[in-house]
């Protein structure tokens, strides 16, 4: 494995902080915030390791969401906070908000008057839009698979 440990630590800490911040925004109680930190840190650590193996951002996000979803299903849920809440706050740091903003800003740039060439911004817009769509699908599907599998087992 070829992973810079300082980058892994940095991304893990930032993921945990972002998840905790959004946990407060979503009105998770203070005593449950460590669970939010843990879910965000786990998700970002897995994604960083996967990106270090030259995986695409979509595949890395899928792996992180799948592992987070499975971990939260396998271990007993902490009292006072739902598994779904931990799913969401854990994956929120991986939502490609930056790419989404760049995609929409790129659309504005295309329609700007006196634009010399529209080909380059258009290709960037398409790339960012596709990346946002695929990453969101990867996150949603990765989280849903463990839940849906468990439901099928219960129904049997």
């Amino acid at each position: 494995m070829n992973i810079d440990l300082s980058i892994l630590l940095h991304h893990t800490v930032c993921g945990g902080l972002a998840a905790a911040g959004f946990g407060v925004l979503f009105n998770v109680g203070f005593r449950r915030l460590p669970w939010c930190v843990a879910s965000g840190a786990l998700a970002l650590a897995v994604r960083t390791v996967a990106l270090g193996q030259d995986w695409s951002i979509e595949a890395a996000s899928f792996a992180a969401a799948l592992l987070l979803g499975a971990a939260l299903r396998l271990f007993p849920a902490p009292g006072g906070v739902s598994r779904n809440a931990l799913h969401v706050v854990g994956c929120i740091p991986m939502i490609p908000g930056g790419f989404a903003a760049k995609a929409i800003l790129g659309l504005f740039a295309i329609t700007r008057p006196h634009s010399v060439s529209t080909n380059e911004p258009l290709s960037t817009v398409i790339e960012n839009t596709v990346r946002v769509m695929f990453t969101l699908c990867a996150l949603g599907t990765g989280l849903a698979i463990p839940t849906l599998l468990l439901r099928v087992r219960r129904m049997k």
Binding site: V13, A20, G21, G23, G29, V81, S82, I95, L105
Partner: protein, 262 residues
């Protein structure tokens, strides 16, 4: 163990339907997915003595048909603005599980929704603002912003959250609010980043408005579609896309104003 429905007449059906809808509506407004809303509404209705429950979960309304023996009743309820409140969400699920165990009469269960709402406090606004500031600064680092940009991102995002809360209290349209907060927060962040000499001004400005990204509706939209509610899922997806568009419009205005968009 108590008999949950003291009377088996029309009044009982009406009360069960209204209570089940109250739980479903509150859960929707607290950020519950359609599958969860169906589950909770059914738990409440069956726990209070219903023998059949059919629910339709829409974006702006819920409709339920409750049946006991040969009698049935259909009621519809409007759903308010969809937000996220995990403490309320958890308390509603716990109460619905208690009602399902048939430990409540209809009369006792009637008090539950109001009691739960009163007993689910929110964090103070300043705490939420600080937390959002920390989250956006962390986001900025994950997106590649430099360390100099962390301070302006934190301060502008925290201020943006305070403004967003005030606009919500004044019932300002959420899309307009997204544009206003996006513009204000990214402008302040851009000015602060320039003053401190950050090399990633545009990235800092984008990170500042990530508090506006509707993460829960985006995830719920996918859950709803995967769980067989494509109409509701699509509606949530479109709403989330519109919020993103309006928030980015605010950032775009700010980038043009500061000359960072060129």
């Amino acid at each position: 163990m108590v008999d949950p429905s003291e009377t088996r007449g029309r009044e009982s059906l009406e009360e069960i339907a209204v209570l089940a809808l109250d739980f479903g509506r509150l859960l929707m407004e607290a950020g519950g997915s359609a599958g969860r809303v169906e589950q909770i509404t059914s738990h409440v209705a069956f726990g209070l003595g219903a023998e059949r429950v059919d629910l339709r979960v829409g974006y702006a309304s819920l409709a339920v048909t409750i049946g006991i023996g040969p009698d049935a009743i259909t009621r519809i309820s409007k759903v308010g603005l969809l937000g996220v409140n995990q403490r309320l969400h958890h308390a509603l699920c716990a109460a619905a599980a208690r009602i399902e165990r048939r430990t409540f009469t209809v009369g006792e269960a009637r008090e539950e929704p109001d009691r739960i709402v009163r007993a689910s406090p929110r964090h103070p606004d300043w705490v939420v603002a600080l937390a959002v500031g920390v989250a956006c600064a962390a986001f900025g680092r994950l997106l590649g912003a430099d360390w100099t940009g962390v301070g302006p991102t934190f301060a502008a995002a925290a201020l943006g959250q305070l403004v967003r809360r005030q606009l919500a209290l004044q019932n300002v349209n959420v899309f307009i609010s997204a544009t206003v907060v996006g513009f204000l927060a990214s402008t302040l962040c851009g000015l602060g980043s320039r003053w401190l000499g950050s090399h990633t001004v545009a990235m800092n400005m984008i990170a500042t408005v990530l508090l506006l990204v509707p993460g829960v509706p985006l995830f719920n939209a996918q859950y709803d579609i995967l769980e067989g509610h494509p109409t509701l899922g699509s509606a949530r997806g479109v709403w989330a896309a519109m919020i993103l568009l309006f928030a980015t419009l605010g950032v775009w205005f700010a980038l043009c104003l500061l000359g960072e968009g060129r």
